[in-house]
Symmetry: C2
Subunit: 246 residues, 2 copies
């Protein structure tokens, strides 16, 4: 019944436009009474995003079970649930994205949903880092970074029409956050040192910065995260290996 | 006139509550006609946040003038404009924060304003990193991290009743982002290497993790950002110096 209502609502939104569709239209199409609609959805907006509540519940359940040594990994896995929900139904997700772009009220609704996801992730990190200096600050920043990375991948996938590997795209985006925050905020890799050397931009690209010999590119840096207990030879070895491969 | 309207509106919101105050009440209190209100504010919500539009314009102007080698520094400076606006009038800011907590419509409005700030910062970074691999992704993530850090400091300051040094708090919060993203995304410090060693949590704090000799704390890591051109001796020296001081 809930699914039938959401489907009827969405068909009508596409046919007539979101603003022009009333709850009465929706229940007529679904062949049920008006009260049934409000039993399942608090508002018309909620019928556009019928799965966020259960996704938020899944996210909370996933995080409740994750008390291991990698809290940033846990919030990345939690964020992946959202992409998985969108990727389960590409056509619907892409059409809804188009609808959301057109209706300011839906964009506002979506902002508040994103904020709830972010709050769920930040709340988990706050608890994990309750004893750490700046734990609350780090929790907010990492949760925001994870959500931004996830949404960047999600938006690219939606704009491409839902083609391509959505989960690979989100893994790549979250990898960027893990590279700088994952180890810094959790436990470094097994060898105690992790080094990131950004790939060079293509040489000679129009407007590229590799023209002058002294030009300092944004990518001319390496980032290293190491355990305090890593021996210095291991640090040096890891940096040299990463530079050679970069 | 604009200021008088915003003041009248705010007094009434505090006296009668936000929902109970109409635009007619506001113009009556300010002694002007109804049309005057809508000449200055598109909606009642806008009268609660009369300065965001000019702050957004200031932010755009600041960023337009910043084409130097430190784009992350530029967005941090742009974010500071928001804190400065709040700190210019602590009493008003703290009262408004209380009002925003009580009225869901104002929280939604605020979310959309925050989103516009974040979009302004991300747009600047996208342009700066247009030629970099993953430039758009990094732009979104860094903008979100900067806004989250800023808002963490702003919220703490508002909750404390607007006492304390708001700008120092926001500097500290933004420092966390710059430590991991600033150099990684821009140019490292003059000596080519920057090392961050988180301060240890107080020993013996209840629930602290320093109990067991082998306990791995979230803070047992160092983060280093270095120019690709930094000599290895400089890297080693910087890490050793930071460890000794940490």
């Amino acid at each position: 019944m809930r699914e039938a209502l959401a489907e009827a609502a969405f068909q009508l939104f596409l046919e007539r436009g979101y603003e022009q569709t009333t709850v009465d239209d929706i229940v007529a199409r679904a062949g049920v009474g008006r009260r049934s609609f409000f039993r399942y959805f608090p508002s018309k907006e909620d019928a556009v995003f019928p799965d966020h509540e259960s996704c938020l519940a899944d996210m909370t359940a996933l995080l409740d079970g994750r008390d291991g040594p990698d809290p940033v990994g846990a919030v990345c896995d939690a964020a992946r649930l959202v992409m998985r929900m969108y990727a389960a139904n590409p056509e619907f997700s892409v059409q809804r994205y188009g609808l959301t772009q057109e209706v300011p009220g839906l964009r506002t609704y979506e902002l508040s949903v994103v904020r709830r996801y972010e709050g769920t992730l930040a709340g988990y990190l706050r608890r994990r880092w309750a004893e750490s200096p700046d734990g609350g600050l780090r929790a907010d920043v990492v949760a925001a970074a994870v959500v931004a990375a996830h949404n960047n991948a999600l938006r690219s996938w939606l704009r491409s029409g839902g083609v391509g590997d959505a989960e690979a795209a989100v893994d790549h985006a979250l990898g960027l956050v893990r590279d700088v925050w994952g180890s810094a905020a959790g436990v470094p890799a097994a060898d105690g040192v992790r080094v990131t050397v950004p790939k060079r931009a293509a040489q000679g690209a129009p407007g590229g910065r590799g023209d002058g010999p002294a030009a300092e590119s944004d990518d001319d840096v390496i980032v290293m995260v190491a355990s305090r207990r890593a021996p210095m030879w291991r640090v040096v070895q890891s940096i040299e290996a990463a530079m050679a491969a970069g």
